[in-house]
Amino acid sequence: VTVVRRALRLLPFTGAFVICAGGGMLFADRPTFQPYAYNHAVHTAKADCTLCHRGARDGARAGLPSLEVCTHCHATAPGSAPSARDRAVWAKALQGSAPPWNRLYRLPAHVFFSHRRHVTVAGVACETCHGDMEHQKTPPKYALKALKMRDCISCHQQEKVMVDCTGCHR
């Protein structure tokens, strides 16, 4: 009876621990896996990011390239030694399946961010927000740079541009 009473006394604490741990696991950053081992470094050594992310200069969204963009230059499954999995993904995508990139950088839904305004008008370099993506030889599983509001505010203050809430929050 004493043991049961002690266990009942600990139950709220145990429950709280389980909820916190479970919630942490649920909402913590999960790794992002890409179905194709895209090599940024090979491409950005001699080409602009906008070769594939075509909206980065002229649009609000940089965009993830469709497979059609890859097929402009690649006649076969890209890579010096594409694996059987790579070839399968390539063949499946050529048949009309959506390619298959998973988004790595996300902003909250209440934030409006225009790539055109930052890249073309303000001249902000891609790595300012995206980190050293251009030298990545394999797809990173986590964002190389956390996108935090304090960074936005800091940069806006440094460049002496507006920091009104409604400038970014819609």
Binding site: K46, A47, L51, H72, C73, A75, T76, A125
Partner: protein, 202 residues
């Protein structure tokens, strides 16, 4: 310490060369956005074309400054992507704009039974405006090696060059000369004194 430093410098240069992808020199880094924006507004089509050459990925395959040499297994040009420095000799401006616009989606195979060459050229007409294509052509024409034209013009003063020209322009021992192809500049002026070295029997 100096020896270590020199070894490191050598290694760094070697790494640059390997990374150059056959361009023959260290790769120019992409321009930062602000500089690129100013370049894109340049009144000079060659400058704008150079920026397009970088942005549109031409440099990925045709190398730095159009020097070519990037591997494309089993392609008809000896397994390597061709350079662009001499396009001025083979294309007019309009022809080159058309060529870039059409791209090359079917790359010829070196070995017909072999695998498809992995790289091909995009149909740039779908990606670029006419002005952009024209700027790109202007840039490619600017890659023509300086001094090449001068070397052609003063061929008569160089014995070895004169002999080479005699072989190229179809002259035989009797002095007969084939007519130049239509639209092409004759290899030499008929009134100009001939190189004495060519007069004798070979």
């Amino acid at each position: 310490l100096c020896g270590c430093a020199s070894v490191l410098v050598c290694l760094a240069f070697t790494a640059c060369d390997i990374g150059g992808g056959g361009g023959g020199g260290p790769a120019d880094p992409p321009l930062p956005p602000r500089a690129a924006r100013q370049t894109a507004r340049s009144p000079d089509p060659v400058v704008r074309g150079a920026l397009l050459y970088q942005r549109q990925g031409c440099r990925l395959c045709h190398g730095d400054a159009g020097k070519g040499g990037v591997a494309n297994a089993n392609c008809e040009t000896a397994g390597k992507i061709n350079g662009l420095t001499l396009v001025k000799e083979g294309y007019s401006a309009d022809e080159l704009v058309t060529k870039i616009g059409d791209g090359q989606q079917e790359v010829g195979k070196d070995n017909k039974q072999g695998p498809t060459p992995p790289l091909r050229m995009p149909v740039y007409r779908e990606l670029l405006s006419k002005q952009d294509l024209s700027d790109l052509a202007a840039y490619l024409f600017s890659l023509y090696p300086k001094g090449t034209q001068a070397a052609e013009d003063d061929w008569g003063t160089d014995d070895a060059k004169g002999e080479q020209e005699a072989d190229d322009d179809g002259s035989d021992e009797t002095g007969d000369t084939k007519a130049p192809a239509p639209g092409k500049k004759p290899a030499h002026d008929g009134d100009a004194p001939r190189n004495p070295a060519k007069a004798g029997p070979k």
